[in-house]
């Protein structure tokens, strides 16, 4: 119900929203929780396990009960805490974990079975028969238990991630945080002040306290205005610091204001990585409840939350209010609710010595033994002065004391320290380097003391930053002492809840101890206490106190479980913002991309590059038709292929040739200028890393090419070799992959095309196989290499990339005049397979030079990377797989890459495997499939039969081992 008063809501601005399909009204400044409360919606959720009706319990991100789903369909957001959801026009919220609806939930039958469903129930019950687990038990449990659901549909919710830097990060904008930020800002430090709430002020917005003679919330507004006018301050409201990481890095989740998030292009959340030289933790404290029988009824809530709803949002969950506490702070709730117009029917303090001046029924030394009212609190049973009495009330506000928010200080392994005086854990100093806790987060609870400690933390940070201390004056504020007498559980019959979100009771924790799960970490896992979205924010300390009681240990000896990031749930979409769809990885496009697309070629990814698969002509409706035609075209006339994606490294310097001799197995130093050599590089372990060509452009100037996939790896390898192994060598290298657009022109008519293109006499005799040199295309300087990956007379022509698109167009036009055209990756693959040329399908990191039949390329007259390791017996023995070619000889004509090879007649099991097929293709030139593979002692088996067995599809083919080069074995076509 809505109370009179102003609070921090704007009654002039009404907002309409729905909950479970029903329309309600709230005001600007409301949260979903406060608006539901104002509309007398008492049951907002069903509990996790027993499906008990639950109401709003707290007023911040620690809320265990009021979890709702926002929106429907793709993009729906489950487990949103109604207490932190800002109300906006048209907001749609839905309850969770109830069927068919919130008021009548069939699975509430679990509640009747509660005696059987205690801690460890699953572990004991669903053991037998074993096969029932996956098919029956698990689906049943998953159906019965759980919270909200994400939509399986793909959605386009935009998240964002961003980086921020500062001298001082102030975490929390309550009195301590505001003072810390203000003082640091005066010294000129770059300050970020982050707070979860929509407005700064922290508890000042929830209390009736005055600061410097004005309402605390008004003072906070004033401070916020002054801070936002300070250039070196960045205020980040709606931003939760979620984790503390190495080197002063903090994760933060920002919820974008609903009106902003609704704009075109706006994100819904932003995940920040904030790097701060120093940090002040002013995150405040969280109130804890007291456990008693049936303490989970809607209407039972935290005392400070009850007065926050009254003071800030002018709402209360009922007309009559009882307060149950073990500390002085709880009395404030009675006073504030009375002032707000509610009838306070009882103030119950467990401390026998407690006193109260309030005009309310006061019960010192009293305890709440139980409650009544299934879907909303009706009455409580009070035990005081040896008597039990029933008191009718709608609301029971409970305070078991305050737990400082130590979470972030524990994210790097620090353990909090128990403090007897406030009966709570305090942060361990310096547990996170550069982070200092202050205010309520450090157990300093009065407004004055919090401001003072915030100021001191700021000064400490300024000293560490080497900045001057500014003059400042602390505002006048209350300085009441905090007194508490620890009280955890009211003993009695019935279930007393500790963890509302996971339905864990006092009995469950004691049961765990009885069954010898006495460590707090074991208890947590056995009972599930402290799991789920709230991570036990309300329950951890109470649960460990109960455990300590059960085991006879002290609370400090029992200790806490490990606090881990994130402090609040963070959508995976926020952490990986921008990484879906085309944002997943950069796309690299060749200069001929547009023309290639225009010709209808489907593109395939090669690393990050996009390359044409084949170029379909009209009438071709199958990739094989295009591929076969392109292969024949290259063999009979000519073809053009964009090969710009191959890695290119420019190597220069007096020691360039020594360097290349060291990274290649073969010698490059003996190569003459204007020549190109094929080269092989090994890894340090002796296996083949990559292959490619090396061209000598001038005396001390080389151009190395790598495969497309290994370009980065080879560059990294070069850096390693130079920086770590041969730092003294005077050699310089840099990637020029992107500088040059390079096109292969291959086929018997390729020379004619080049002559037409260059308009100059290009004599075959001047350009022997494996030569290179400069040419001019019009007035553009280009490089020409006579190399071949197709086995035909072949060239590669390179121009600066800006001319790539234009050159491709000219090459196609000239090729078509000669009966040629473009060819894609499929044809390129078949051409190289016919010739037995290798790709990374063969050099997959497990093969040696000798396996590839390239043992002779391992120069005996020099040292090179991988040489020694390649000599290991295991890498040289004959039983290793050697590269071989394959052709089928039986009725089955199919070869399949990945299939294994067996001796004919041997059982096709893994122990009998003699090798495998690495790549296959249909050769239109040979009118059959061609394959490359590796076969034990394969070099000696040419001509022998083997059987291919492909276990996935069941294809078996009789094959003959042939030489890997199946077409033009002497290489005349490309050499002459």
């Amino acid at each position: 119900m809505r109370l009179a008063g102003q609070g921090l809501i704007n009654r002039d601005e009404q907002i309409r929203f729905t909950f479970d399909g029903r329309w309600y009204r709230g005001f600007k400044g409301d949260t979903l929780a406060s608006a539901l409360m104002a509309n007398d919606v008492q049951v907002v959720a069903r509990s996790f396990k027993y499906h008990r009706p639950r109401g709003i319990f707290g007023c911040g991100s620690e809320e265990p009960n009021a979890l709702v789903t926002l929106g429907r369909g793709a993009g729906q957001e489950p487990n949103a805490r109604a207490t932190t959801v800002e109300l906006y026009e048209g907001l749609e919220a839905y309850s969770q974990n109830a069927w068919p609806n919130l008021d009548f939930d069939l699975l509430a039958i679990n509640d009747l079975a509660a005696p059987f469903l205690g801690a460890g129930f699953y572990y004991k019950t669903f053991m037998w028969p074993q096969k029932f687990w996956e098919k029956l038990y698990e689906p049943l449990i998953r159906r019965a238990a759980g919270l909200g659901e994400i939509s399986p549909q793909e959605h386009e919710l935009k998240h964002e991630k961003a980086y921020a830097f500062c001298d001082l990060l102030v975490i929390g904008g309550g009195p301590a945080g505001l003072m810390a930020a203000w003082i640091a800002a005066q010294s000129g430090a770059d300050v970020i002040l982050a707070d979860e709430d929509t407005v700064l002020g922290g508890r000042l917005n929830a209390e009736r306290l005055e600061v410097d003679g004005q309402p605390g919330s008004a003072w906070a507004v004033d401070m916020a205005r002054r801070l936002s006018n300070t250039e070196n301050v960045r205020l980040m409201t709606r931003t939760t610091i979620t984790g503390a990481y190495d080197q002063g890095t903090y994760g933060a989740l920002e919820r974008i204001a609903p009106d902003v998030a609704a704009r075109e292009g706006a994100p819904k959340t932003c995940f920040w990585r904030i790097a701060a030289k120093r940090a002040v933790l002013a995150a405040g404290a969280m109130e804890r409840p007291i456990a008693f029988s049936n303490n989970d009824r809607p209407g039972v809530m935290l005392a400070a939350a009850a007065r926050a709803y009254a003071n800030r949002w002018c709402t209360a969950p009922g007309k009559q209010v009882a307060v149950f506490c073990n500390n002085a702070d709880g009395h404030r709730t009675a006073a504030d609710l009375q002032a707000a117009g509610a009838e306070v029917v009882a103030l119950i303090d467990t401390r026998p010595e407690a006193t109260s001046d309030l005009d309310v029924p006061f019960y010192a030394g009293g305890q709440v033994k139980g409650t009544r009212g299934r879907s909303g609190l009706k009455s409580i049973t009070l035990q005081a002065s040896g008597k039990e009495m029933k008191i009718e009330t709608d609301v029971l506000a409970v305070s078991g004391g305050w737990n400082p928010s130590v979470h972030l200080t524990c994210h790097m392994g620090g353990r909090p320290i128990w403090n007897e005086e406030i009966a709570a854990f305090l942060p361990k100093a310096n547990a996170v380097p550069g982070l200092e806790a202050c205010g309520a987060a450090n157990g300093t609870f009065s407004t004055h003391a919090a401001m003072q400690s915030g100021a001191q933390s700021a000064l400490n940070a300024l000293s560490a930053l080497g900045l001057k201390h500014p003059k400042y004056k602390l505002p006048k504020a209350e300085n009441e002492a905090y007194s508490i007498s620890p009280f955890w559980v009211v003993e009695g019959k019935g279930r007393a809840w500790l963890d509302f979100q996971n339905d864990v009771t006092v009995k469950d924790v004691r049961q765990a101890a009885t069954e010898n799960f006495r460590s707090v970490e074991h208890m947590k896992r056995y009972t599930t206490q402290g799991m789920a979205p709230d991570q036990g924010k309300n329950s951890n300390i109470n649960a460990l106190a109960v455990l300590a009681g059960a085991t006879g240990e002290t609370i400090p000896a029992t200790g806490t479980t490990t606090y881990r990031p994130p402090f609040v749930p963070v959508p995976i979409g926020a952490m990986g913002a921008g990484g879906s769809g085309i944002g997943f990885a950069p796309q690299r496009f060749i200069t001929s991309h547009e023309a290639t697309l225009a010709s209808g070629a489907p593109m395939i990814e090669a690393g990050l590059w996009y390359r044409p698969s084949y170029f379909p002509l009209s009438g071709e409706n199958n990739w094989r038709q295009s591929c076969d035609r392109e292969v024949e075209m290259v063999r009979e006339a000519l073809g053009v292929c964009d090969v710009s994606t191959l890695g290119k490294i420019d190597v220069q310097g007096p020691d360039a040739e020594s360097f290349l001799d060291f990274v290649y197995t073969n010698k490059m130093s003996t190569m003459k200028q204007g020549r190109v050599r094929y080269g092989l590089m090994l890894r340090e372990d002796g296996f083949v890393m990559d292959d490619g060509t090396c061209a000598r452009l001038s005396d001390n100037h080389f151009l190395v090419t790598t495969t497309t996939a290994a370009a980065g790896q080879v560059m990294r390898h070069f850096e390693f070799v130079h920086q770590c192994l041969r730092p003294a060598w005077n050699v310089r290298f840099v990637s020029v992959t992107e500088q040059w657009a390079q096109f292969a022109v291959a086929g018997p008519k390729s020379l004619e095309l080049l002559q037409n293109l260059l308009g100059q006499g290009l004599e075959r005799a001047d350009w022997p196989f494996m030569s290179c040199g400069d040419v001019e295309i019009g007035d553009v300087a280009a490089r020409l290499f006579r190399i071949s990956f197709s086995g035909e007379l072949g060239w590669e022509l390179a121009v600066p990339s800006r001319y790539g698109a234009a050159l491709f167009d000219h090459l196609l036009r000239l090729a078509e005049e000669l009966g040629g055209g473009p060819y894609g990756m499929e044809a390129l693959n078949v051409l190289r397979l016919e010739k037995g040329f290798i790709t990374h399908a063969e050099i997959d990191g497990r093969v040696t030079a000798k396996d590839l039949g390239m043992g002779a390329m391992m120069s005996p007259s020099k040292d090179f990377i991988g040489k020694t390791m390649a000599m290991r017996p295991g890498l040289t023995e004959d039983k290793r797989g050697h590269i071989i070619g394959l052709k089928t000889i039986g009725s089955v004509k199919q070869l399949i890459a990945g299939a294994h090879l067996f001796e004919p007649g041997m059982e096709p099991v893994s122990e009998n495997s003699l090798g495998y097929i690495s790549s296959v293709g249909y050769s239109p030139t040979l009118s059959r499939m061609v394959g490359l593979g590796f076969l034990q002692n394969g070099h000696a088996r040419i001509g022998e039969p083997v059987r291919m067995v492909e276990h996935l599809s069941g294809v078996i083919a009789n094959c003959e081992v042939v030489h890997p080069v199946q077409f033009d074995q002497d290489g005349g076509r490309m050499r002459d």
Binding site: W740, R802, A806
Partner: protein, 181 residues
């Protein structure tokens, strides 16, 4: 005679103008990797001064200005932007033409820093990353070179082949920042 028509990396991409932030291609002129040989950095710096009136920058710094700028580009690696390098520099350093390797663009506007902070992990605060400061860094998932060339403007370079990803990611970040105004 065949005439090859050049295309710049951002050819066909309209400049972006979103929320008062502008993103457009810069014609930086010739770009040359200068890789000084062992012990030749000083000599290279002097020769640069003589030929192009710029010196060799320290790591993460640039020298010169638009028209003739040298930016630090990595370990023992700087990039001369603007003039064709004088051939005499080759005595002191390996010179490698990179004119066509990189997309060069400028991001300009009051919120340029906010846009970049969505894409790049550098500390871009003007007191830290001043005019003339440069960094080899990550931009979205791309490796990039980011240089502050003005109070509210940054020079951004990524591989030529990645220009589409650059413009896409830049547009997303610009729209996101614009929406927050």
């Amino acid at each position: 005679m065949i005439e090859l028509i050049p295309k710049s990396p951002l050819h066909g991409h309209e400049p972006l103008d979103i929320g008062g932030v502008h993103f457009f291609e810069i014609n930086a002129g010739a770009m040359t990797s200068l890789l000084p040989y062992k012990g030749k950095a000083n000599a290279l710096s002097k020769a640069l001064q003589k030929c192009h009136d710029v010196s060799l920058p320290e790591p993460n710094r640039t020298t010169g200005k638009t028209g003739a700028r040298v930016i630090w580009f990595g370990r023992e690696h700087t990039l001369l932007m603007g003039p064709e390098p004088n051939t005499s520099l080759a005595k002191h350093a390996a010179l490698v033409d990179q004119t066509d390797s990189w997309t060069v663009a400028e991001l300009r506007g009051e919120k340029a820093e906010a846009v970049l902070s969505r894409l790049c992990p550098l500390d871009l605060r003007s007191a830290v990353f001043k005019r003339g400061h440069t960094g080899r860094t990550e931009l979205s998932h791309m490796m990039a070179s980011v240089t502050r060339i003005g109070v509210q403007s940054f020079q951004i370079m990524v591989f030529r082949s990645m220009v589409k990803t650059l413009t896409h990611d830049m547009q997303v970040a610009m729209e996101s920042v614009a929406a927050r105004k």
